[in-house]
């Protein structure tokens, strides 16, 4: 096993990885920006190195600084956590060139899965279900009509160069197509200087469902079941759970086969998450892959008993899945995670500042992952996640009851948090019934505003 690992991250995930290392007897090195000098990931590491000023680009995203820190601390490996450099293939390449093991997939795989269209094609070749759509760009209305017929309405037109909703149109009927095609084209050309469009099947009220995979460096792949992540606001997940009420044992097994095959074909390594949209008929469509540990990995850990971060380290050290995992993986109970963000629970404005009181809930089936503490500081430079509250019950009803109890006993003063928002969501009848899709938060917030 590695002798010494540098954790190239901050906040709760840095502490999570550091603790996993310590438990495995690996010496730990934290890096930090000047804004994080008093952070717990610094306090609880064996060594800590300041790598730059607060701005992300100057510190946590500063590849030479991170690599230099790794070199002067003489580490064997770097764990990137999530976000930051975790899906930066160039960084993984520099690690390789510097003879430092990057805990994650090889840069080639990260690069492949990081480009949406390439990832889509790779998954398609591997016979994973992808969102039907045009093969590349559609140039004419005739093309568009033909593709739409094949795919079936509704479809969505998207700007190839685009993002942020511009150059995007949902087409529900054939009659609308010419007009909307022109509109999207004009908008895209105007916004991005490139009017090229492509077309995808449009999923109404989809669920966001993702599968956790682990692949070793010897070609073995397993899935650790799914996570339901439909409770999100502007693509920011708020609540995740596992298992999903919508995934039947049969579908779960089918997806497991499909994913094991496709991940093996792609040559995937280490932990990864394959994200899907689920339509009203419970069909899944690949959207993208995250080639790293996820924020929401603890719900999978709760129901499987597998420590995903330790698994990552052991895979990176060359171990085989059969050495790492129990003989039989099965789902035990139900787990839910709330992301506790330092932000206003209604306005969603980030709330940086000095924490003046911090009391976390505990007890049976309650897990808190946090690097915050009483009198800690939430710096204004980074994301607003200050804690993850994870509960594990025998079933969803018990998990919900535990979460309500735990949220009620989670006390933070000095900064605003999303705790009241979570409490309100857990009161919502549709949420409690499990009847929701990715549009839930929008409707929920609209109703609250009216009320």
């Amino acid at each position: 096993m590695f002798r010494k690992v540098l954790v190239a991250n901050r906040g709760e995930i840095a502490l999570r990885v550091l603790n996993a290392c310590r438990e495995m007897g690996i010496r730990t090195v934290a890096v930090y920006s000047e804004a994080d000098r008093n952070s717990l990931h610094v306090r609880f590491a064996d060594e800590a190195i300041c790598i730059g000023p607060p701005r992300l680009a100057d510190s946590y995203l500063n590849v030479p600084a991170v690599i230099s820190a790794a070199e002067i601390a003489d580490v064997d490996a770097i764990h990137p956590g999530y976000g930051l450099l975790s899906e930066n293939a160039n960084f993984a390449e520099v690690c390789r060139a510097s003879n430092i093991k990057f805990v994650g997939p090889p840069p080639e795989v990260t690069r492949l899965m990081g480009e949406k269209e390439k990832a889509r094609q790779a998954m398609k070749r591997a016979k994973a279900p992808i969102l039907p759509g045009s093969e590349g760009v559609i140039s004419t209305i005739e093309d568009a009509e033909e593709t739409a017929e094949k795919v079936g309405y509704p479809v969505i037109l998207k700007a190839k160069a685009g993002g942020g909703g511009r150059g995007m149109r949902v087409v529900r009927e054939r009659e609308e197509l010419p007009k909307l095609f022109h509109a999207a084209h004009a908008e895209a050309a105007n916004a991005f200087g490139n009017g090229e469009l492509y077309m995808e099947k449009y999923i109404e009220q989809p669920r966001h469902i993702e599968f956790q995979v682990l692949a070793d460096e010897h070609g073995n792949v397993v899935t650790l079941f799914e996570r339901e992540c439909s409770i999100q606001r502007r693509h920011q997940k708020l609540i995740e759970e596992s298992p999903s009420l919508q995934v039947t044992p049969k579908l779960r097994e089918e997806m497991s086969h499909t994913l094991c095959r496709s991940m093996a074909e792609i040559g995937y390594q280490n932990a990864g998450t394959v994200e899907f949209l689920m339509d009203a008929n419970h069909h899944l469509y690949f959207i993208e892959m995250n080639t790293r540990i996820q924020v929401e990995h603890p719900v999978t850990e709760a129901i499987t008993g597998v420590d995903l971060v330790k698994a990552q380290l052991r895979i990176a050290d060359g171990e085989r899945l059969e050495e790492i995992l129990p003989r039989k993986l099965e789902i035990r109970g139900h787990a839910i995670e709330c992301r506790i963000n330092a932000e206003h629970p209604r306005k969603f404005t980030p709330s940086a500042g000095q924490i003046t009181a911090f009391h976390v809930p505990g007890g049976n089936g309650v897990r808190v992952d946090t690097a915050q503490y009483a009198e800690g500081v939430v710096p204004p430079y980074y994301d607003s996640l200050i804690a993850k509250l994870i509960v594990h019950g025998v079933d969803r009803a018990e998990a919900i009851a535990k979460m309500e109890c735990a949220l009620n006993q989670f006390i933070v003063r000095g900064v605003d948090t999303s705790i009241p928002l979570h409490q309100a969501i857990f009161q919502d009848e549709e949420f409690r019934a499990g009847k929701f899709d990715t549009g839930f938060m929008e409707r929920f917030l609209a109703e609250r505003t009216e009320a």
Binding site: E47, A48, A65, E71, I72
Partner: protein, 166 residues
């Protein structure tokens, strides 16, 4: 006690009182001092304790015996300026890396204590990712002390030289 002793004591007491000192020990054996100020207003126990326990002892670069051991003392969180530092300017490292005092092994150091340096003059090298980065003095003055040693690992912001500005 002699009258002047008593007078000195009186002055001391008044002085301490004037400064809201609540407790004061002194022991000239090998210099012990202990001072406690009156607590402000109402004594809120507060979590300053926790902040101190958790925050103010960062495990700086190499707290344990290792190649990087010597950096901690010079870390920018160290105790605020001693009297000796008064009026000095510190050149801080703009990057993480390894400190070299001379352009190549065996060569003479760029600068030594007592040297006068110009602003912009190269005073050392920080190696980062195999690149030798020449570090220039950001002020003109006399090198009073070099705070790190050849080959030492350096973190961002670490003090390298103390300079008495000209």
């Amino acid at each position: 006690m002699k009258p002047q002793d008593i007078e000195e004591l009186r002055q001391l007491i008044e002085f301490l009182k004037a400064h809201q000192v609540a407790e004061f020990d002194l022991d000239r054996g090998d210099v012990k001092i202990r001072l406690k100020f009156q607590e402000a207003a109402h004594s809120s126990p507060g979590l300053a304790d926790l902040a101190r326990a958790l925050g103010s002892v960062p495990t700086a670069l190499g707290q344990a015996p290792s190649a990087t051991a010597s950096a901690a003392a010079a870390s920018p969180t160290a105790v605020p300026a001693e009297d000796l530092d008064a009026g000095l300017h510190f050149v801080q490292s703009p990057m993480v890396g390894t400190f070299y005092a001379s352009p190549s092994p065996g060569a003479a150091s760029f600068v030594s204590s007592g040297d006068y340096v110009e602003k912009g003059q190269v005073i050392c090298i920080i190696e980062a990712m195999k690149l030798m980065n020449e570090i220039e003095s950001d002020t003109a003055g006399e090198i009073v002390r070099c705070l790190v040693t050849n080959g030492q690992p350096i973190e961002f912001g670490q003090r390298l030289f103390a300079i008495r500005p000209a």
